[in-house]
Symmetry: C2
Subunit: 593 residues, 2 copies
């Protein structure tokens, strides 16, 4: 007997599909490439997958389906796709609001949008039929009502369940973490107020973005200098500080937690979103930052074999580290790849979607510590390289941070033409300006490929008041060599040369302002066409936001960090030789294996 | 080809077994009915399954196996059964300390011992080879060392891991909860100091027992009057108190938590076991008590349809309810069966091992609230019945609690002969005394079957100073009728009569002191031979201890409470008629369906 099937015509997409009798409409639409919102995982309790039946069978409405449709003002010809079983030929219209939203998280660059499926979700329910079920307790009744018999209520949620039942028999909102953990219960329908915090804890700067978990839209961004700088400008000095003082770890933790609380409060004040409506924070930082945040010692990071105490932490209570959000809020610290390749890099790779691309790609995050990840088809290798503080304008005689008055761009027009941040008079030179100046110097013969300044006074005169010394050039040369060595050894280890790369992602604020031509000339970036080099800005924050908005992405990044092989540069016998070779100023040549 | 097998002769048991080549010796011993301690679940890290190889192959010792055996002072002819694969004929001796300990938890009555397998376990490990593995972090290295790659360390455990690594490379002790959750890490080998608390929170009395988790032995028991009595002597008045006062719930919670802390401190002081070595408490109580303990409202228990807010709570942090044990200690509240059949009953059924018996059995806990559970082969039904306070000596003109001076036994010798608790002059009559007196009165014709006192002054004269009034008799009659109705309806609902019962378990202090003949005469207990009636004492505490010492038992009791069908007496149409019938003083007749 031939298997029967029905036609399903979908408007307004004009997609024609076929469906077996009894198949779930939600599955038919997904298979037809029309993803709809299955926010409650097809349990029929969120009402977000409504469709209009233009022609075809209209089965009787189930009581909860009726009330969900009515609460959205939808007429009797509407049904929930996650409850509708196909029993005849069908013409239907997907409501615009039923489509699964795709959210763009990377503000610069080409990363594809993600599908909104946050770990923390709110579902509004009518409790009025409560206790009439065969359930042995109200908690069990709630589990049955939500189609999740193994629902796990926290103690505060249970206390609220007891109170709610007394104060209101109408609407209540369940705040879910994952599929079965109830973080909180709230009277009324508060589904419109669900927020999360995406955070990048950088060594220099902390950035937080308040995100609407129901829409994926940002509700404000705030940043501040990492207040840990008072304990050390760079990461190594902070690790040393923590290593030498028993009280230091707590001070470093307090500093970053207080700062996160300040940023959260600032965002709350600006947006009008109460902190009590912020249910989760996803925090990306390097390995030392995530240890400081968790209050876990970084001593093992200070000594060979340079291990970290933990990789990932899973989901912990925000209160456990003193974060003042909703009392039951969770914190997810993006897992670290390895001691010196942290969660910020894992987040960045996720944001740039490296695992989803077919080819071979390089991810570079330039800073005091340069992290480099190479993807050769399915295989990931990562390394870190100590570039030193030159790229941040430190250890340079006229160097400064990228703040107003800093030379951040330079051109050659019969002499150096300098551009400053804010267009004010130049006070010094920041990292990107240094790269420009060195590349121009090389181009114009003011500096030899070996780094020697050719002028008799061994100075590179930039303006009446600014000049670079021979020592300054050496510092930049060393920093660039560190990055070049890392890239070349990683490529060589995979038997690749720069030309084999399909794309290079340059992460970080420093990277974003780099002049692409000058960077290639110094070998900081591989010698590839412009179209293959992608500046993706703060990909750590973008990755944190991505993981905040998608539970499945979180599972994926946890699998990813386990897949990445770490290559220790210093332990390679050819490191010294490669490093000396990389000191030569000039384009990045092929790797060595 | 015939499958090869080897002989395994086991001493000192003189058991002969056969084993396939390559089979694990631990499995061979278990299959041969000689259960050995597999404390670390055959991961080769606890060293508790050592055997001596008297004759047969002696494979090379693995490094960890060698150090485990050495630390126990065992010679080179010893091996761990969980690592030994059979490769030839074998003669071996099981060391006495390698046998799985069976622990008796029920102090009275016939329940079989349980196998020691607590949820909280300690394992001592050498950390000296730490970090030399290919692990990405110390947490991962610990997981590999313990054969548990998905080991989950709490934040305090991670902090300790970082410190331990610095302070000591030798021995550390992992405190495990379940197979993968690390509660704490301790420097040195502290495996000998692992304690738990088994608690029965009764409406009148709270009893706590300190238990050695490594041996199952009790390390002291303490009890006190439930200090909630100042908010109401019985459960109904406490529920009413909580219902009427917004602050009441917190006060009731504080009262019981403070009391548990006092008892724990007392046990700690007496035994010398620091509270920081107590890692778990298992607490059994009725539904209202478990709600008070968790600080969850009991308001729904006060009104139809009398639901509870929760059944079970799973495992929660002791700190969440304010219990002062080890900072990371867990609390397991025994799950409730239903609103008025609580975790104390679930614990009691587990302690009496009803689910393991083949026949039909009845479990009765007599008190202000009488709980009755009937097992008819595989089917469990339960009900509760409001006996009122008469059995506790309340609402009786000369009634009193079972304290010194209370008449707790009475005989007839040409007149009442009274026995008091402590042998002092009678000051009043407690519950068991009342049962004796009523049964004697019926026997001697001083009371009619209908309850009428035959003497002209309508008094039952017990001594010069003590007598029961007609009203007193009515109170006891009502209490007994409530229990009789419950038993009869439950039996009837299953199509059974009292004679079909293979055993009756009588739980609780009141039950333990009942005169068996007099109780049968009044129908409080079914008319069965003495050998079928088993007084099991505080089975709630015994059950809590059982669940403290056995993780598998906890899983079993969670499945059990879901299997028990609840029968609501009041909702049955024949309840009134049965109740009136049960008012007649006399043996329990057959049930009605």
């Amino acid at each position: 007997m031939k298997r029967q099937s029905f036609t399903v015509d979908i408007l307004p997409d004009r997609v024609h599909a076929r469906a077996r009798p009894g198949s779930l409409l939600a599955d038919v639409l997904t298979a037809a490439g029309l993803p709809i919102s299955l926010y409650c995982h097809k349990k029929g309790i969120c009402g977000k997958c409504a469709v209009r039946v233009v022609g075809g069978p209209l089965p009787l409405l189930q009581p909860r389906e009726r009330s969900l449709l009515e609460s959205r003002g939808l007429g009797p010809d509407h049904r929930l796709a996650c409850l509708y079983r196909v029993s005849g030929n069908l013409v239907l219209e997907i409501l615009p609001e039923s489509r699964l939203e795709k959210i763009e998280v990377l503000e610069t660059g080409p990363a594809a949008p993600i599908l909104l499926d946050p770990r923390v979700k709110k579902l509004a329910l009518k409790l009025d039929r409560f206790g009439k079920d065969a359930a042995a307790s109200e908690a069990e009744a709630l589990g049955l009502l939500m189609g999740t018999p193994d629902l796990a209520l926290s103690l505060p949620a249970l206390r609220e369940l007891g109170r709610l039942r007394e104060s209101s028999r109408a609407m209540a909102t369940v705040v879910l973490h994952g599929e079965r953990e109830v973080l909180a219960l709230e009277p009324g329908d508060t589904t419109a107020e669900a927020y999360g915090l995406a955070v990048d804890v950088g060594t220099s700067t902390v950035v937080a973005e308040l995100v609407d978990l129901a829409t994926g839209r940002g509700a404000g961004r705030a940043s501040a200098m990492n207040s840990q700088v008072s304990y050390g400008a760079d990461i190594v000095s902070r690790i040393t500080f923590a290593f030498q003082n028993p009280e230091a770890l707590r001070r470093l933790q307090n500093a970053v937690v207080r700062q996160l609380n300040d940023l959260a409060a600032e965002l709350s004040g600006r947006s009008g979103v109460p902190l009590g409506r912020v249910y989760e924070a996803v925090i990306a930082g390097n390995t030392a930052m995530s240890h400081f945040l968790a209050g876990v010692t970084v001593d093992p990071l200070a000594r060979s074999p340079f291990t970290s105490v933990f990789g990932g932490l899973g989901s912990i209570a925000a209160s456990e580290i003193g974060l003042d959000l909703h009392p039951a809020a969770r914190v997810y610290i993006v897992p670290n790849v390895r001691s010196f390749v942290g969660g910020d890099i894992a987040a960045g790779i996720a944001a740039a979607e490296l695992p989803l691309h077919p080819g071979s790609e390089l991810f570079i995050d330039l800073g005091t510590n340069g992290e480099i990840v190479l993807k050769k088809r399915d295989r990931f290798t990562a390394t870190s390289t100590a570039a030193g503080p030159a790229f941040e304008g430190m250890s340079i005689s006229c160097g400064m941070l990228a703040v107003p008055g800093a030379v951040h761009r330079a051109e050659w027009a019969s002499g150096f033409r300098l551009h400053t941040i804010g267009g004010v008079a130049p006070r010094g030179v920041c990292g990107t300006g240094l790269i420009d100046i060195l590349a121009i110097g090389l181009e114009q013969g003011l500096i030899e490929a070996g780094g020697r300044i050719t002028s008799p006074d061994r100075k590179l005169h930039l303006s009446d008041r600014l000049s670079l010394t021979q020592q300054d050039v050496r510092e930049i040369q060393l920093a660039a060599a560190a990055v070049k060595t890392g890239v070349r050894l990683l490529l060589g280890e995979s038997g690749m040369s720069p030309g084999d790369l399909d794309a290079v992602y340059v992460a970080g604020a420093f990277g974003s302002f780099l002049d692409i031509r000058h960077s290639r000339a110094l070998g900081l970036l591989p010698d590839l066409g412009d179209e293959k080099i992608r500046f993706i800005g703060n990909s750590s924050l973008a990755g944190a936001k991505r993981l905040l908005l998608s539970g499945p992405e979180r599972t994926a990044v946890e699998a990813l960090v386990k897949r990445i092989d770490h290559v220790s540069l210093a332990s390679r016998p050819d490191f010294q030789e490669e490093f000396i070779r990389s000191l030569e100023l000039g384009p990045l040549s092929g790797g060595t294996s």
